[in-house]
Amino acid sequence: MPSIFPRWANQFGPKLLVGGGLIGTLATAGVTYYFTPKYTRVGYQPIQPVPFSHRVHSDQLGIDCRYCHNGVEKSWFSNIPAASTCMNCHSLILKDDPRLQLVRDSYQSGTPIPWVQIHKVPDYVYFNHSVHVNRGISCVSCHGQINEMDEVYHAKPLSMSFCLDCHRKPEDNIRPLDKITQLDWKGQVDGKQLVHDWKVQPGESCSVCHR
């Protein structure tokens, strides 16, 4: 009786199994690497309309974060300063610098400077700056070493697992309140003690961030 299937068909099953497994593994690996915020967000560094340097302002000049981002302790939103805040100094310093033309124009006309947003959580996440900076979480924990950036880039993934890592173990990031905006602080602190004393219970429930 002649065989119905050709001889090479004998190896078809194992080949399919191995090949399929390989493709599956590659796809899974690819998705977990390329499709997660660790890849899609970290390193994002758009060109801003004004070449503002955090390194100069924060690190070299030592201006406190809250001088410009003055809403950070009071609101969920850490505000981008108005042009008028820039002009507090720049009406005297570098007052004719062409790089600051847009700032001066904005101050005069009221037309906003179109800064490109870098850090953004999805709309269904209700992140609140004030509760973090008032309870011992520094800017660097989420934004990275902003004080060393000439141009700001996305330093941390800000994914849900990133949030949860800290909400589960706040002691790794908590620091004394006077060190919140001291971005280069490298001191040691007993995080567990602070978490206990301040009754830090960040919560892992859905309702903490999603409403």
């Binding site: 042009a83 906003p112 400077i113 179109p114 953004k120």
Partner: protein
């Protein structure tokens, strides 16, 4: 081991505790509706599109999404952050502020705080600082939606063409100049009623400048009809302000105190004050023709025709008044009273016994004589100064009424008619033919919020600004001056009435801000500080109307009381203010439209209400085997009602019939305000217009003919939605019974005997649904735990909470067709139950004629052992660490298992993208919110006809702190989690490096709680001993709905206590629902049978209770 609770016994003779007539008769359709979580066909695609079409649309969208993904890489689109050029002082992005303002309505405004966030108002709350502050009514909650209504007047027009605001101002100045030359001859101003002191001042200024001009005021529903009586009894300029909060005995003469009368929120608050069971508990007698929420609260309710109220009032007054000219006058009137002598005499005796703490209120629809009798009664009961204040009210000058304006128009003596607000072309008395008469005026100038019927007869139409975009002032019911301050610039450059009047009068100062400041300066808010304090507090201290020192004039009252005019044959028609859209002003407000009527539970339209007996007399089709007329319901659970034609003097209106238990026989109730022809997209096609029957003689019309029309109409009713079958979910008792056993409610249903339930070794009930806290105790927060208590004793069912919840939580409206399919999205529903005398068999034709009513707000109960959580395959509904049952919308895949497994039926499913629903349609004839399907969101390739500009306006009303849910997602009450989280954050921010992170017990107020005028809802953190919920949870009346399921809900209820008068002929020893419960269960909750405890005992007490009950029923028989 599976626990099978003992079956809930159903009596063979029918139920006595029901939501609708069909439910009463236990129709198969109702059974089916109960058994299905969603009605038949609920998950089908809307008509007109087959499943195949949907596949096409969906695959196309996937393709598009894929292409989009390729083109943009995997990054989200770039967004810009736009800071200010110059930082405004005090502005903090993301924060919110409250500004004190007021919601004007006729001549009584409500003091509110408007929540302002990111540059716009998003929510109105009662101003807690203002004197006599107490929640808000539903219409106040919904007022903010009008601000963002894309259908409001967005332009000024002259003879139909758009004109600029400057042109309007020029035209007004030209008018001013024209009339300055002849001192205003031919200038008529027809205004809606207002309490604004500034408008009064300008009215006077106008009269000073243009002495010949005529000022008229008109309200189609005149809530101040009683003022004429007060003027006769005490002299002109005197007004009576009822203080229900001081009254222990209240007699309402056709007055819907808690619903459609003025100051309903205040009345509810006052009523609730003395509604706690105890010796100080108040008692409410209601004589009425329609069933109102006030009647639902009544301890004794007398159902009479509207024309008979006078006789009942006279009968009571005859028993109260001892001699005097008024008493002499009454003798003849009382003869025709339908009430038994005993009813009137005992009621009178009770009132007299509480002289000084009793009040009689006459309804605004009733004729002058009833108000006069009420005034005489109040005088005899020593009410003035105690339960009502007689105050003198400053007036802006004489005002004529609309008939004078029409006769002047017809005489040709009107040159220019200025209409300020209102909508007389739609709602003026029909016999006046107002719209025709206006053609005889040379010029009609109209300031209006909508381009409505009146806009069509005006050559100038000036867009009015919303009160949240204008400066002004107002007075509350007791006269306290309130600011009206803007929270944003007028969106469409509207003008206020103050501006128009000032320009007409030719005043130099025309800015509403300056005009208001000037008025307040005169009233005593002097200087910058006084003004700032006025704006900050939201009221002017000690500015209430002054108490009038006047004396009662019995002679004048007696002379003015007249008997009823000759009694006409036929039906009596009551043209009443609608509890949602008022006189028609709220018709384009989707929140109000979709709120189920507190009594009928009808949405989106008005109906012709008749009593069951009237329906029988009319020969409406009867159900086989029973005498009760059938609600005309089709097989799919939808009400298709027979149409009735009501004819008076040759004028007829047609509308779908609604058989309303509790209505007086021979009476037809017609709600005003519907069936408008020139209205926005929401109100288009909603209901029928009853105004053609309203004539100058008033809202009570007799001699009507009613006939059936062979036409049926779909009516969207929610009364059977979320039905909980056969269990005593509402529990009530009389005060005497309560005193016997205050915790009777815990002793009802299976809660009283849980011995059958299998238990764990530790004594707890074996439950297949387990709280996550049990397995993982560390997940339970020891800082905050949330709970709510709802007091059924004070809840009137007014539904303000429903709208407040909708405003706070971005709940979409779904339209009439969707409601009729059971897809309404309200997170909160008010269940209204009827119950009747169990001694009447259900098959009897009179069973539904005169029911008692109970209401129960039902919302997510936040069970600790939540049945919904166990069945969710994707963990979308889970417990948080503070006792909330939360929904993670992003996880939800829409299986709806949770909803099926919810014993309370409080979950809502987004069948469509209601929030993206297209309500800007090209087709003028479309009645989109009325259609069964309507323009639902058709996906990215569907015809999306939303104009971008309109969408921008519609979006503004959304609360930015709450996710807007999309299609295919389950949602439900969250306990206002956004408010909880904001409070937690506020407390933590304040705590900084300390451990004081517990949220104070009463700090968080949910939206429903804040809106409730009666204070029936309490919410708080039970871990704080100060929290008011703690005390209420320990109240003996506290019980759990379906407690035997061991779900351990975080929402508990306080049983309702009634306070009937044992001396009254219609006294009932138990509320009827309780009598029914006792009859069906054969047990008496006032007898101990070991409730709720872990101790085991035999199950034989049921029988023992049964025999005890039999004896009790025998005892009761004599009393009923």
């Amino acid at each position: 081991m599976k626990t099978i609770p003992p079956p809930c016994p159903e009596p063979e003779t029918g139920r006595k505790y029901w939501r609708s007539l069909d439910h009463l008769q236990d129709k198969p359709e109702v059974r089916e509706w109960i058994e299905r979580e969603f009605p038949d066909g609920a998950s089908l695609a809307p008509d007109g599109e087959s499943r195949r079409d949907w596949m096409k649309i969906m695959s196309a969208s996937f393709l598009l999404a894929g292409m989009g993904g390729l083109a943009t890489g995997c990054r989200r689109p770039e967004e810009e952050l736009l800071p200010f050029g110059k930082q405004p002082e005090g502005y903090l992005h993301g924060g919110y502020k409250f500004f004190a303002t007021a919601v004007p309505n006729r001549d009584a405004a409500t003091a509110v705080l408007a929540k302002w966030q990111d540059g716009r108002p998003i929510k109105l709350e009662a101003n807690p600082l203002a004197p006599g502050s107490h929640g808000t009514c539903a219409c106040v909650q919904a007022a903010i939606l009008d601000l963002y209504d894309p259908d409001r007047a967005t332009r000024h027009t002259h003879k139909g063409t758009d004109v600029s605001a400057a042109k309007v101002v020029d035209a007004l100045s030209a008018l001013s100049k024209q009339f300055a030359s002849n001192s205003g001859k031919g200038l008529y101003i027809l205004a809606e009623r207002s309490s604004s002191p500034s408008r009064n001042r300008l009215q006077k200024a106008l009269k000073d400048k243009l002495g010949e001009s005529v000022w008229a005021e008109y309200e189609p529903v005149d809530l101040s009809a009683g003022r004429a009586a007060t003027a006769i009894a005490y002299g002109p300029g005197v007004r009576a302000v009822v203080k229900v909060g001081n009254a222990k005995r209240i007699l309402s003469l056709d007055a819907d105190l808690f619903g459609t009368e003025q100051g309903a929120a205040g009345a509810m608050a006052g009523y609730a004050k003395h509604r706690k069971p105890g010796d100080e508990m108040n008692r409410l007698y209601v004589v009425e023709s329609l069933l109102s929420i006030t009647g639902g609260q009544a301890d004794h309710r007398l159902r009479v025709k509207p024309s008979e109220v006078l006789a009942v009032a006279a009968q009571v007054a005859a028993a109260v008044l001892k001699g005097g000219p008024v008493a002499d006058k009454l003798r003849g009137l009382a003869a025709s009273s339908p009430a038994s002598t005993k009813w009137a005499e005992e009621c009178a005796k009770d009132l007299v016994a509480h002289a000084g703490a009793a009040v009689v209120v006459a309804g605004h629809r009733q004729p002058l004589s009833v108000h006069l009798i009420a005034a005489a009664l109040n005088e005899a009961l020593e009410a003035p100064g105690k339960t009502l204040d007689l105050v003198s009210v400053p007036s802006g000058g004489d005002a004529v009424s609309i008939p004078e304006v029409v006769s002047a128009l017809n005489a040709g003596s009107v040159d220019t008619l200025v209409i300020l607000g209102g909508n007389p072309a739609y709602n003026a008395p029909a016999d006046l033919k107002f719209a025709e008469a206006t053609k005889k005026a040379k010029n009609v100038v109209r300031l209006g919020y909508y381009e409505d019927e009146t806009a069509a007869i005006s050559n100038w139409h000036i867009a009015a600004s919303h009160f949240l975009e204008s400066w002004g002032d107002a007075r509350s019911l007791n006269g306290t001056v309130l600011p009206v301050q803007p929270l944003l610039q007028p969106l469409f450059g509207g003008l206020t009435d103050l501006e128009v009047l000032a320009r007409l009068a030719g005043l130099e100062q025309t800015s509403p801000y300056e005009l208001t400041r000037q008025t307040l300066k005169d009233l005593g808010a002097d200087g910058e500080e006084g003004w700032k304090k006025f704006l900050h507090d939201g009221f002017l201290a000690n500015s209430a109307y002054e108490t009038a020192s006047v004396s009662f004039k019995p002679g004048a009252v007696a002379a003015a009381i007249s008997g009823p005019t000759s009694k006409a044959e036929g039906f009596e028609v009551v043209l009443h203010r609608d509890s949602k859209v008022d006189d028609g002003r709220g018709l384009n407000n989707g929140w109000l439209q979709e709120m189920p009527d507190p009594i009928t539970k009808v949405t989106w339209e008005n109906v012709v209400t008749v009593s069951p007996k009237t329906a029988r007399d009319l020969g409406l089709p009867l159900e086989k085997g029973t005498q009760i007329p059938q609600d005309q319901k089709a097989h799919d659970g939808q009400y298709r009602q027979i149409t009735l034609r009501v004819t008076v003097n040759g004028v007829s209106v047609e509308g779908p019939v609604w058989v309303q238990p509790g209505l007086a026989d021979g009476v037809v109730g017609l709600a005003l305000g519907y069936g408008r022809t020139a209205v926005g997209r929401v109100g288009k096609g909603s209901g029928f217009n009853a105004y053609p029957l309203l004539t100058s003689t008033g809202p009570l019309v007799s001699g009507a003919k009613v006939e059936m029309v062979t036409k049926r109409a779909l009516v969207a009713v929610t009364q059977e939605h979320g039905l909980m079958e056969g269990r005593p979910v509402v529990r009530e008792a009389n005060l005497d019974e309560y005193k016997k056993k205050p915790d009777f409610a815990k002793n009802m249903d299976l809660d009283g005997h849980l011995s059958y339930v299998p238990r764990n070794p530790d004594g707890s009930i074996k439950n297949i649904y387990q709280s996550p806290y049990k397995a993982n105790p560390w997940t339970k927060s020891d800082i905050n735990q949330w709970a709510m208590v709802v007091d059924l004793g004070t809840c009137t069912g007014c539904s303000a909470c429903v709208v407040a919840c909708q405003a706070e939580n971005n709940i979409p409206i779904v339209g009439k067709g969707q409601v009729s399919r059971g897809r309404e999205m309200h997170w909160m529903r008010i269940d209204r139950y009827y119950s009747y005398d169990p001694n009447i068999p259900a098959s009897s034709e009179v069973a539904a004629d005169d029911p008692q009513m109970v209401v129960q707000p039902m919302l997510c109960q936040h069970c600790e052992n939540a049945p919904c959580e166990s069945v969710c395959p994707v963990n979308a509904t889970v417990h948080d660490n503070e006792g909330l049952n939360v929904m993670a919308y992003n996880r939800c895949i829409g299986t709806r298992y949770c909803s099926n497994n919810c014993p309370y039926k409080v979950r809502r499913f987004n069948f469509f993208d209601y929030n993206k629903r297209d309500n800007s349609f090209a087709d003028a004839d479309d009645h989109h919110f009325m259609d069964l399907t309507g323009p639902l969101y058709h996906g990215p390739l569907g015809k999306n006809r939303y104009a971008e500009k309109e969408w921008e306006i519609v979006k503004l009303v959304k609360n930015p702190d709450v996710s807007v849910r999309m299609r295919g997602v389950m949602e439900k009450c969250t306990f206002c989690v956004q408010r909880i989280e904001q409070a937690k954050i506020a407390v933590k921010v304040q705590a900084r490096d300390s451990g004081n992170v517990r949220v104070p017990g009463n700090m968080v107020k949910t939206a429903c709680q804040e809106a409730c005028p009666a204070g029936a809802i309490s919410f708080g953190n039970v871990l704080d001993p100060e929290a008011s919920v703690n005390a209420l949870q320990n109240d003996p009346r506290n019980y759990t709905v379906l407690g035997f399921l061991d779900n351990k809900p975080r929402v508990t209820y306080l049983a309702r206590i009634r306070n009937p008068n044992p001396a009254m002929p219609d006294y009932y020893a138990s509320p009827r629902s309780l009598q029914d419960y006792e009859r069906i269960r054969g047990e008496n909750p006032f007898e101990e049978h070991g409730h709720g405890g872990a101790h085991g005992h035999g199950d034989d007490h049921g029988k023992a209770g049964g025999s005890g009950h039999a004896a009790m029923t025998g005892g009761k028989g004599g009393q009923i």
